[in-house]
Symmetry: C2
Subunit: 283 residues, 2 copies
């Protein structure tokens, strides 16, 4: 890991920008080259010194030893094959929230080995380069998918890079990844969006309803501020798993509703006793 590398970051927003800060901070980068379709974001990223310069995609790929993709997952699926078309021996990795469709899209690509599929389990409800944070990703899990399809040298560099950032490596097949994240990430965003809509609808007739909102409400609703450009493609790409978890979650809510409707205090107690077992996971 002694050699710093020239690294191109495609998409310098919350995730790409936070990654840029870490790559610089951990002395992993010799140079950071941004690629950004959004001109305002590019200007902000330079102002915050997230990257050294911006280049068009082709020039950035040619100038870099490592290429990071941190763009919405629908754009990733079309862009990754094009990036691989242009690489020689560079390492390419993505930081997206879904994995099966992306890995499928490059399955037969002659440069498949240069690509490592990754998903660091960190984010916030904010977006854009302004939202980039120092020290992001540290102490969190990063999932590496279908590592047997990557070249050993590329995989080796990616693993050491994430370890240097302070992440815990978890290996998983893409399908298992997409199922797991539906349950511990995607559903949390949907419940939060839906809860915001539930209360905002009520506000139309009860205008002072938020006046008394407390920390508990804020905690369950904060993810509702998340960016649709990022989340719509995630839900659609992970459609089957997301529908499954949503169906199960609606069933669980219906159990609460039925217990309350029938004044079944013992049933309600049992449902909450079950839910309290989350204490084993969340301290």
């Amino acid at each position: 890991m002694s050699n710093r590398k020239r690294i191109a970051i495609v998409g310098v927003g919350l995730i790409g920008g936070s990654m840029a800060l870490q790559l610089h901070e951990k002395k992993l980068s010799a140079k950071l080259i941004g690629v950004e379709a959004n001109q305002e974001h590019a200007e902000q990223a330079l102002e915050y010194e997230l990257v050294d310069e911006f280049l068009p995609l082709e020039e950035a790929i040619a100038a870099a030893e490592v290429i990071v993709l941190a763009i919405p997952v629908n754009k990733m699926v079309s862009l990754l094959p094009q990036v691989l078309d242009r690489v020689t021996d560079q390492i390419v990795f993505d930081m997206g929230s879904t994995k099966a469709a992306l890995i499928e899209a490059v399955k037969e690509h002659p440069k498949r080995g240069r690509y490592v599929a990754t998903h660091p389990m960190w984010g916030t409800e904010y977006s854009g380069p302004k939202a980039a944070q120092r020290g992001a990703f540290e102490g969190k899990a990063v999932i590496l998918c279908n590592t047997h399809e990557s070249d050993p040298d590329a995989l080796d560099w990616i693993k050491k890079m994430y370890e240097k950032i302070g992440m815990r490596l978890v290996e998983m097949e893409a399908k298992a990844h997409d199922l797991h994240v539906a349950y511990v990430s995607h559903i949390s965003h949907i419940t939060s969006f839906a809860l915001a809509n539930t209360v905002l609808e009520k506000e139309k007739v009860e205008s002072a309803i938020f006046e008394i909102a407390s920390a508990g409400f804020e905690s369950t609703v904060r993810l509702a501020k998340s960016n649709p450009e990022m989340w719509v493609p995630i839900f659609l790409q992970n459609k089957e798993n997301v529908i499954d978890v949503l169906t199960e979650h609606i069933d669980q809510l219906t159990k609460f509703k039925e217990s309350i409707q029938s004044n079944d205090s013992k049933g309600l107690q049992a449902l909450i006793d079950d839910a309290n077992k989350i204490k084993r996971i969340i301290k």
Copy 2:
């Protein structure tokens, strides 16, 4: 507010214990007398010096100038009339999460005027005297209900007391209160309990599912650690409002499900754009 008062706290748990700390800290109490059915909690409360002594309820009422009720709302409904039976000119207030049933229970009581119905909008997912916090309630809203039914001197002392603690006073009729809290507090707890159960059910077949859970998941699920002894009676006492908000919330989740199922990215974008309006409320 120069005179400190002898104050009895019935129920020295998370809420009663945190109130005891504030009453002492803000120099509102001359003496703090605890009343506690749970012997272990009483011992812990003395160990943490939350109150000066414990007395049986009748003796505590006789010895106090102010009586605070901080017990589950089902117990409150049966206890409040009994407490009012024994007061002469003491001030009685409760800190419960539902108000209509409680106020109805003492509507015709000859000592109704001595009682002030209050609900400070603060709590955590923990319970018992160990969970009591210094500085609790500060900067939050406290709802006072049906204040026209309380004697002016009692209401006046309660208002000054909450102001001294640093709370923002909001007056509301009991029915409006119960509707509002269903939307900004009770539903958050139900979604959190149901989300915990959804993922804990999945864990039975996917044992490593929590290994990759991140801060977003934790935020939406932390209220699922809340105590059933407190929450079962709240949901049942506020049944009609809770059923209404649950029905609406399930409808909102179903909209997400249908948009995803039909690959309706514009519909999904519109739902998330709506939810993003919560930024106006939650900074």
